[in-house]
Symmetry: C2
Subunit: 394 residues, 2 copies
Amino acid sequence: MNVRPVAIVGGVTTKFGVRPLTWAELAQEVGAALFRAVPALRTEDVDALFVGAAEPERFAFQSHVAPLAAEQMGLRPTRILQRTELACASGQSAIRSAYAAIAAGLSDVAVAVGVEKMNLPSMAEANTSMACVMDRPWDGPHGATAPPFFAMVAQRHMREYGTTEEQLAAVSEKNHRFANSNPTAQFHEKTFPREKLRRLPVVAPPLRLGDCSSMTDGAAAVVLVAEERVRQYTDTPAWIRGSGQYSHFHNLANSGSLTDWIGLRLAAREAFGRAGIGPADVDFAEVHDCFTISEIVEYEMFGWAPVGQGGRFAEDGQGDLGGALVVNPRGGLLGCGHPLGATGIAQAVEVVQQFQHRVPPARAVPDPEWALVHNLSGSANVHSIMIYQRGGAA
Amino acid sequence: MNVRPVAIVGGVTTKFGVRPLTWAELAQEVGAALFRAVPALRTEDVDALFVGAAEPERFAFQSHVAPLAAEQMGLRPTRILQRTELACASGQSAIRSAYAAIAAGLSDVAVAVGVEKMNLPSMAEANTSMACVMDRPWDGPHGATAPPFFAMVAQRHMREYGTTEEQLAAVSEKNHRFANSNPTAQFHEKTFPREKLRRLPVVAPPLRLGDCSSMTDGAAAVVLVAEERVRQYTDTPAWIRGSGQYSHFHNLANSGSLTDWIGLRLAAREAFGRAGIGPADVDFAEVHDCFTISEIVEYEMFGWAPVGQGGRFAEDGQGDLGGALVVNPRGGLLGCGHPLGATGIAQAVEVVQQFQHRVPPARAVPDPEWALVHNLSGSANVHSIMIYQRGGAA
């Protein structure tokens, strides 16, 4: 069946970091910024709003955030508004929902916005809330939150394939370097050499502070439109050409191998199949580097590196400018921070800005045509992928 | 533009009530029941899962519930799974997402499941969690939770239009009577005469216990399929012919009139327009009677009763069997209970069962062709509507 094409025509990201703002104030800030960033967009054009947010119920003691975001963004009345939650992939879920709504003829011009407020007066409460992403009654008592889970992945990857701490640090060094050229990133450490990264405190062995993304406040928004409306907003759209999303377990006991992420392989196969391209066609990718080891496993699952060679791929700079493809030029979750519901949308904003040649030379991908965005959620049990193609000038 | 038609081909509801089960166990129960209720459905047919849940983060201290539900329902690996949240309308949001995914060509056979576990050892905690549905920092300090808000609506409706407590009780009597013929309903009070209802304790004046829906544990699931797959599962599908969803405020200060629900009027106009029918064509409706006054206002906003005459419409039995149309034959939220994420899906199950003539005579709508399902969320600030048409036998 044929459905009408959909493109992202613009977007914006707030400053990520420890922001002295509430959830609602972050939504207001990104709403105002969106209409400045896409000057042709009027509030009355927007006929659908999708809100990605992972845990406002716990971090902000506020549920039913979709109409709250609508009001704060100046969209009133608002059509088809919905909040999507898929933990760390909540933002991409909002984009996918907006895509489906437009393709299905329910919307012509949709906004997908992601907002997360994670830094609280009591960070103990924030960390406790993070614990409910995994299977709480079964995995929670064993202390399974994100850092120990990904530490197990790293330990296993080291044992199976000889991956080294130096290779983990190579991912962190690259992404923090890219973040230096991204003014919205949480971290702007001017030099983050691998030797320094390897002296940082251990969070969960072998993962050190520089191997972990952070608790971050932030918001991001993009505008998705049906084909016939694209030229109204931009000459350089990011066409959505493929997507895929799979889960293969929830309880850790059902995960199978820690280093073979089946859900990611299935999601990638679907996304590449729909887009009609293969891994080697991707010019740059925004992948979910919640931890350095994640990016290394992802190199392998996407087929950019042979299985077991993700560490070597990192060490050799194959995911850097001048390598096989550029991975996380935005600065990644490691450099930008990880406001759960905003991350997937901020990654899409980077795609638009790369396609429109609006990023500084330090992270500019040369002549990009194909971009891939990947988010995982939970214990890498769910994987969500979007593939974008640059549209030419009119 | 033309998109391929989508129908609901079957569904099931667990027993609603105070259930000694966890969130995950409710998901497991409804999954097993779904495959019994739709015998032709195999797990490998299901290529998308959408999970409606309002507040598992607070009620069950569990987020990221989409992969949890998938695992508990025996769907592994699972494609395009997503949790949708729109407070009291979270279930219908899951159906709408599944509809859009199928219409957009992302799925052929999707399951929409709604699960909510609301009864906790500490009901004080449960009630506190309900407070975060409304605008917490602005409306929360004034005590704005659902009962006081809808009490204000009732007081205002009484003042403007002379609506009476007897008319409120007429809605409750009808819906509780219908619930007696629904084995999955939470309440089976055999006689609930209006005089008895008017002696029940006051919750928020003028609303008494019988005017309020309850805190309920329960789950429901439906199967949505693309046109070409319908006959594989049923001879009598419920075709999705129209939908509409609007919000017109979040903060109560922006609500405007308490008795003129603009969002509902806009959503209804869109849903009727897409379906190509008018209010008088609806044979029966499952509307959101979280409180008796809600159903009365809804009679007016949908155009079944003139504005101000909703109370009279109830008193005259116009929403009962033999009236203008049958409203809430399932037993409504008042009689069935209101497990937030499950309600919208249980309403759709009733539509399928009415169309398939599988309900007892006490609540059977004669020869139904058109059905409407409505959910509101929060302070009646968001309204979601689906319109279904009965498909004929093959």
